[in-house]
Amino acid sequence: MKLVAFVSDYKMTVDTLDRLKPEKLGIILVQNGVYHATTKENGKPSSLLNYSANYYVLQEDLETRGLSGANVLDSKVKVIKFGDIVDLLFNEYDKSAWL
């Protein structure tokens, strides 16, 4: 299964991602999930970035929170727009989940 998961919170209260074993995993950081891509707590990147996955972050939600500078973004994460999400859902992944 090719799965793309939307992460919309900064502090996750579920371990669903640990339980999923898709052949291909994409993680799209939206809403407050964008802090995973930008914020280092005590100098450490978010543990959410430790999965073997393709990471994306929504540009509009970065900018809304004042996080538009490329220097604040983890190098694993690709910045995308709403239109790119549609392309990913239709072309790259079979299923989507919202965490």
Partner: protein, 137 residues
Amino acid sequence: MATTKLGFVVQRPGYKSENPKLALTHAIASQSVEIYLQDGDLVTADIAFIGDGVLNCIKGQKAVENYDLNSTESHIKMALLLDLNVLVCKEDLDRYGLSESDIVIDAPEFGADMEVKVVPYSEITQMMEEMNHLLFF
């Protein structure tokens, strides 16, 4: 004559929920109750950002451009315009690698004289002890 002191403590990041912005709108609205007060009575409001709440203070928020929403940043600036005491926890800023240059500090374009104060958590604790009512968001 009496002064009622309100303390608003914001401990969550913004936008996904209205919660942090509500703290600011409530604090701002508290300054419009004069008509219900006796002469000489006052209501003051202090706002403190702690924990993940300090992420609300990052400057350069483009909420209007992207979602047609007033930004939390502009609400903080409105609070400064009304001379509200806005405190940001230094330890929590440090935890996220943020400094004063990353956050909203003043609002000269709004004509505000007040500035955001970055203070150690001990000062925020002191502020909370001085309040008559504390509201957590």
